[in-house]
Symmetry: C2
Subunit: 153 residues, 2 copies
DNA sequence: TATTGTTATACTCTATAACTATA
DNA sequence: TATAGTTATAGAGTATAACAATA
């Protein structure tokens, strides 16, 4: 009723957190068997999307710390989903590269991820989901700066 | 091609997470001096909004675990922002109750929280923010997965 | 001297299970 | 027997700082 009761309900941050928890939960329900967390899936997808990028670039694209990325890459490499390939000209840089298994798992997981999205966003119509996605992209700002990319929202 | 590069950019969960991180960061920038985290603010606001509720109810309202709530209440009580008042008829129940200091801090913090929202959502117009809030509320409104049901790994 | 990746470490947040005291 | 709160503990997840190899 009064402003006292609505303090949290009026906050984007509050609902963003709750929405993310729901999204994470739905992800876990469908993808637990694959052993993938949202972050591990994000790494696989980003490695696939940015071939040739070093770990630091992958980390930056995901908003993660380089030392955090080491552990994530360790996990994925330990499961044979990717390999660290030394960069052709800069031997400091290791380029995460998907193995056949990694690519297969990514292809297997992606429809499950979309299914989890449809599950936790079932309260919204397709048009509303698209609208929500559009607004969230704008919120993120210029999303991930990609080499040679175009837009600016 | 596009399906490969857009795997993450098409996901609500991905953008919800990034949005929440942005919200959390903006909150920290403005609220760090107060010593409040988003969750601690949420507890204060919920205690204010639900006088007479026990810790378990407060926890449920925030989607948190009862044992997690103990620690949060501990922190707030240790700083003199609330007190545990034994329930009138059920002596098992402790009712978190704001002190004058707690209420004052809540009143002080709330405009700062709104300022942090305006900061991290600056890319959106007022109408877009309202629309985003509506959609996120609808998302939250659907059956909330229980806290324990999510993490079975 | 700067940069990439790595390691060691610590800190935060949260959940699980066992325990207490009430009911 | 069931419930509210608590405790101890463990598991993610992440960040900071120091270090080695390379540029």
């Amino acid at each position: 009723m009064s402003s006292t009761e609505d303090r949290l309900d009026d906050l984007l941050g509050y609902h963003l957190r709750r929405g993310q928890l729901r999204a994470f939960g739905a992800f876990a329900e469908l993808l637990a068997p694959s052993g993938l967390t949202p972050m591990l899936y994000g790494v696989l997808a980003t490695v696939a999307a940015r071939p040739g990028d070093g770990q630091r670039d992958i980390a930056a694209a995901l908003g993660a710390d380089p030392s955090t990325m080491v552990r994530l890459i360790d996990q994925l490499e330990g499961r044979g989903l990717l390999r660290r390939v030394t960069h052709t000209t800069d031997r400091r840089t290791s380029v995460p590269t998907l193995t056949a298994e990694g690519r297969a798992l990514l292809e297997h997981a992606t429809p499950l991820v979309h299914a989890s999205e449809e599950r936790f966003a079932a309260a919204l119509s397709a048009a509303e989901r698209a609208q929500l996605l559009r607004l969230l992209r704008r919120l993120d700002g210029a999303a991930v700066p990609e080499p040679g990319a175009l837009s600016s929202g």
